[in-house]
Symmetry: C2
Subunit: 296 residues, 2 copies
Amino acid sequence: MSIDVEQLLQTISKQIEQAMDLYLPKEGTHPSILYEAMRYSVFAGGKRLRPALLLLTTKACRGSQSDALRAACGLEFIHTYSLIHDDLPAMDNDDFRRGRPTNHIVFGEANAILAGDALLTHAFSVIASGDLAAEKKVRLIQEVAQASGALGMVAGQAADLLAENSVIDVDQLAFIHQHKTGDLLRASVRMGAIVAGATEDTLDVLTKYAEALGLAFQIHDDILDVVGDPVALGKQTGMDESLQKATWPSVFGLEASRQQVSKLTDFALSCLASLEPSEAFAELRALATWLVNRNH
Amino acid sequence: MSIDVEQLLQTISKQIEQAMDLYLPKEGTHPSILYEAMRYSVFAGGKRLRPALLLLTTKACRGSQSDALRAACGLEFIHTYSLIHDDLPAMDNDDFRRGRPTNHIVFGEANAILAGDALLTHAFSVIASGDLAAEKKVRLIQEVAQASGALGMVAGQAADLLAENSVIDVDQLAFIHQHKTGDLLRASVRMGAIVAGATEDTLDVLTKYAEALGLAFQIHDDILDVVGDPVALGKQTGMDESLQKATWPSVFGLEASRQQVSKLTDFALSCLASLEPSEAFAELRALATWLVNRNH
């Protein structure tokens, strides 16, 4: 059975965007600029990879998609807040993201800070509401708070800041990759399994899949920044080098990085192969393969 | 029975600060600057009013103090994050708070933004953990997320920004007071009652107490900025007027503002008077009276 991953991601994006529209405060409510700023970045496109990982994992574990929708939106709100704050002048100082002016360029720095704060807080409100059992909600909140918090994503961002304009070693590079991006990808898969009520054994195997896939995804991103096509990517390449950012290729070389991606992907696929029934995990397998072969 | 409120608040502060120390990531962990920045502002002093309201409400409703500790710390983490972000150059641009340099002055803007983000996220992690029943944790998280989020505290901050350098009417002033500060004070009391498993009737009455007290507290703050003693307050007075900020006294006059505080306090006390057993609510009564008579 051949799976069209691009088609699959588009279907999920549509579903997630409808749900996010429903869960976000409406524009027009006072103070409207806050809600406009939140919605501007939430609906700025993107692969919706985190919600997709969550929803596909829930489905693979025979859970209900509708049970997973709030957690999936919460993840995307948190991912979006992190992009808004990352783009701020005091952080990466980016004026454009995905071809559009960044949040603070359109709404001003103060509103961008507040829109990020509001999205982060709203994520927890959305996950804590709805019909899921309280025990599951609590586990989902623990999971996403740890992954995105002081010892997770924010630690990765702070370490990334520290690494600017300095030579870092492999351990530091791995720390940044693991926490800045890896932790939330890992949480996406784990939360999908938690919604479905997967066994602890299945959860462990899926966690290994997510960790390997998360790192492979980021190394592939680093490689695309070196050899990718700017038109397909929709952004300039060579940025990491010009910013003297430590990346997998800059530390290990391009060929070793490619081998690493391939090894990690094989391992991720072998994790899924150990789960039953095999056909339930076909979409997660296809997603892994697609992620490390994409050109954008 | 006469209650020494200052003594009571000091005892609670000590208890809360010990617990916050326990729940926060340790300094020294990589990237240490993030954890130093979080701790710098968390341990910068303050009345710890929100944890105090929560703990005293739990106690009044015959709940266990130890059950309330995580929620109380979560509230203070959220209050602290809001101060760090409020002080940023793009927001209020304050270099000092309580006589100490603000977070971004010491750690830089980027780390101040991240320390705020991390404290907000950590609040949910701390409340979602521990031994409380899952149903209670979920209610506490819903309560604090709504109070501090897009339709609560952040809405108040965004409205406050919009109001800068413009003439605002009474409704707008009330909106800012209600959301920027009132919502989290209201949540403090409600969360205390939720920890204790109070009945919905008791919760309703305590909510009315909290709303009246919250507004009285803020009007009293506005009054202190006009007539207070800078030495006792530990900060300059006359700031609201020099910044042309709309305040209760600037809109209604000083005398009418004082009458409003007195009326709101009487109402708050009458709410408590309707609850049984009367002596259980003595500390919450004393706190209300102290809050609107303090000179700092």
